[in-house]
């Protein structure tokens, strides 16, 4: 397989999927946009890491650095209007891909009122329903029935579309995932489950957490569900392979299970002290050197003549500035009011003009 590799002048491997219809049809600007998004994701997360280290972010910060082509590739083939997205707690990339601003995302990390969830959700709980992004879920596997539900709603309402539901390689052993797979296949729900396989669940390698034949996605056969497995470092490949599943969902409303091999450069979360204990430094460096999705796509576009070195640098510079500005914005934004703690709990309380219920709904003595 590696024999027929095309390389550019720097010896960087070029994509075998540039001519796939879904990639061929891309305009110059669209290709640059895909590149820009990956760069913006990386710079945003690098900046968020500094913010965390500076003590501006609490709780967990799960970085997607190294995996960018998975979210951007798979989501970028989707229909902005009728396709929906949901993932776990490693959710920043998907957020920026749907068009959420760095400001609202960074402010959320800072716990500010200007955050995408008004500072109520934090890093693991980003949402933008207006952009078809449904989170951002902290309980491993817990989002998978919700993903089926989004797709169920589309089918119920007669809308042609699908839902992309992401999970990690460690998440596949949650009961809810199994129940969701069976429901999706049994009821022909147009959901595409995507395993972002970075090889580890925290410090546990895939082999130590899952029993499987060949790969995790093959479990789909047990549900008579279509599946595919491929690499996640070439954004063109991710787009081409994902498009087949999306088309299947559109045409037959049937689900697909995709397993995309990728890699996270950082620890499980920033708090992961052992990031280089359960993985060798070499393993990490090797991936960065040969498979970094942003570096690969930059060379790809330059070799295609779509992008110049200078343009790439400019895009990167702009992304860094945007990330820094978002940190400044977050820094300067106000914290939510104490009173907001009890807002957004019940729709009815938030809409007093339409409130029907009577009686007491909050129960602190202090009230």
């Amino acid at each position: 397989m590696e024999t027929t590799e095309l390389k550019d002048k720097d010896g960087v491997v070029l994509s075998k999927f540039a001519d796939a219809p879904v990639n061929k049809k891309l305009s110059k600007d669209e290709k640059i946009e895909i590149f820009r998004t990956m760069v913006r994701i990386r710079r945003f997360e690098e900046r968020s890491l500094r913010a965390y280290q500076q003590g501006n972010v609490a709780g967990f910060l799960h970085l997607y650095i190294g995996q960018e082509a998975v979210a951007v590739g798979s989501m970028s083939v989707c229909d902005k209007k009728n396709d929906h997205f949901i993932t776990a707690y490693r959710d920043h990339a998907h957020a920026l891909q749907v068009g959420m601003s760095m400001n609202e995302c960074m402010a959320e990390l800072f716990g500010k009122a200007t955050g995408c969830s008004k500072g109520k959700g934090g890093s693991m709980h980003y949402f933008a329903p207006d952009k078809n992004y449904w989170g951002g879920h902290g309980i491993v596997g817990g989002q998978t029935p919700l993903g089926a539900g989004l797709a169920f709603a589309l089918k119920y309402k007669g809308v042609q579309g699908c839902a992309l539901c992401y999970m990690g390689d460690g998440a596949v052993n949650q009961g809810a995932v199994h129940e969701s797979f069976n429901l999706a296949a049994l009821w022909e729900i147009p959901v595409i489950y995507i395993i972002e396989n970075n090889g580890y669940s925290m410090g546990t390698s895939q082999k130590r957490s899952s029993a499987y034949t060949d790969c995790l996605a093959k479990r789909a056969e047990g549900y008579d569900m279509a599946w595919d497995r491929f690499f996640g470092h070439d954004v063109y490949e991710v787009r081409a392979k994902t498009m087949e599943a999306v088309q299947r969902a559109y045409d037959t409303s049937k689900p697909t299970l995709l397993e995309i091999d990728t890699y996270r450069y950082r620890g499980h979360s920033v708090a992961d002290a052992n990031a280089e204990k359960y993985r060798s430094k070499e393993e990490i460096e090797e991936y960065k050197k040969t498979k970094d999705p942003i570096n690969l796509f930059e060379h790809q576009l330059i070799s295609e003549g779509v992008l110049t070195d200078d343009e790439a640098k400019a895009i990167d510079k702009a992304a860094r500035e945007e990330a820094n500005d978002s940190a400044k914005f977050a820094e300067e934004s106000p914290y939510p009011e104490i009173s907001s703690i009890k807002e957004d709990v019940y729709w009815e309380e938030d809409n007093p003009d339409q409130k029907i219920s009577q009686g007491r709904i909050f129960f602190n003595d202090e009230e």
């Binding site: 309402k157 957004d344 709990v345 809409n351």
Partner: protein, 324 residues
């Protein structure tokens, strides 16, 4: 006025809402082709078809979570749990996803789902099938909980539950399905958070919910006839929101309180009521608040013992007389 069963009242409420709103869909095990394990949905599948009534595999976490997801996009799923005890395999989807998705999204997402089914003991199905988790659900901000005791309340509250834009857990009772009561032909709804004084009296306030209300009413009759104690029976109807004022008004009148619940005692609904009453009507209490709960053990199978384990008329009478 005509009388129908609790089961029929629920069916009417469900059917009217299905006809009113095309987004209402009923999903659960055996709800469609089998007509419902307890026949609540009898005839509805023939009438409304596969789209509106769906038989689910035995995957409560999966299909309830699916309902939560669908509700975020505007479907209004009504999920049947054959027994509410089975909520324990779907706990995370109900208590985390349904309860917190609105909050964690800063109010961007609504979750208009109803989860309904029977939650009661007294039928010899043993410990695993006889749970009454209303206290646990009501502990969770983001959820609404109601427990109707009569056909009238069951229908009115069900229609309210389905129209509500927040997750509502609706706890029914297999021992009430066959009970008859007056239900008007004309459409009506009952708002949450409005307790119902089902019997008035001056000597003692009995606060209860669900089937225990029926027991309490029977006990109240005997208390008056044989012990000259005039008990007022307050039916909470919904647990969260909670109508504290109606309870307090009664307490201020009678100055003595008995709480009756099928919950196990530790942190049962009655515990919350005790705290609330002593806090807000401290000076009106002439005696300690007493509580009758299920006897504090897993639900026993043996039929005569189970009848004693859950609150019954005798135990309620004893409890009433024990209020100093």
């Amino acid at each position: 006025m005509r009388t129908i069963t609790y089961r029929e009242a629920l069916r009417e409420g469900l059917s009217e809402e299905i006809e009113r709103d095309e987004n209402v869909v009923l999903i659960g095990e055996e709800v469609a082709q089998y007509n419902g394990a307890y026949k609540v949905t009898e005839g509805m599948w023939e009438k409304y078809g596969d789209k509106r009534l769906m038989d689910a595999p035995i995957s409560e976490a999966g299909f309830i979570g699916m309902g939560v997801g669908a509700s975020m996009l505007g479907v209004r799923p009504v999920m049947e749990l054959m027994f509410f005890s089975f909520s324990y395999v779907a706990w995370d989807q109900m208590v985390n996803n349904a309860a917190t998705v609105r909050y964690m999204s800063g109010g961007k997402i609504n979750c208009p789902i109803v989860v309904r089914g029977p939650a009661n003991g007294g039928t010899g199905v043993g410990a695993t099938h006889s749970h009454t988790p209303e206290n646990m659900f009501a502990n969770v901000p983001g959820l609404k909980v109601c427990v109707p005791a009569t056909p009238y309340d069951a229908k009115g509250l069900m229609k309210t539950a389905i129209r509500d834009n927040d997750p509502v857990f609706f706890l029914e009772n297999t021992l009430l399905y066959g009970e008859e009561g007056e239900v008007p032909e004309d459409e009506y709804t009952i708002p949450f958070g409005v307790a119902d004084v089902k019997r008035s009296g001056e000597d003692l306030t009995i606060v209860s919910h669900g089937r225990c209300v029926i027991m309490a009413l029977k006990a109240a009759e005997i208390l008056e006839a044989e012990h000259d104690v005039k008990a007022e029976v307050v039916d909470l109807r919904s647990i969260r929101p909670l109508d504290e004022e109606t309870v307090l008004d009664s307490v201020r009148k009678t100055n003595r309180v008995l709480l009756v619940e099928e919950n196990k005692p530790f942190c049962g609904v009655g515990a919350q009521l005790s705290h609330m009453i002593q806090e807000k009507a401290f000076d009106y209490l002439d005696a300690p608040i007493k509580r009758i709960s299920a006897i504090d053990a897993p639900a026993i199978y043996s039929p005569p013992l189970e009848k004693h384990q859950i609150p019954n008329v005798d135990r309620i009478i004893q409890g009433a007389l024990s209020v100093g």
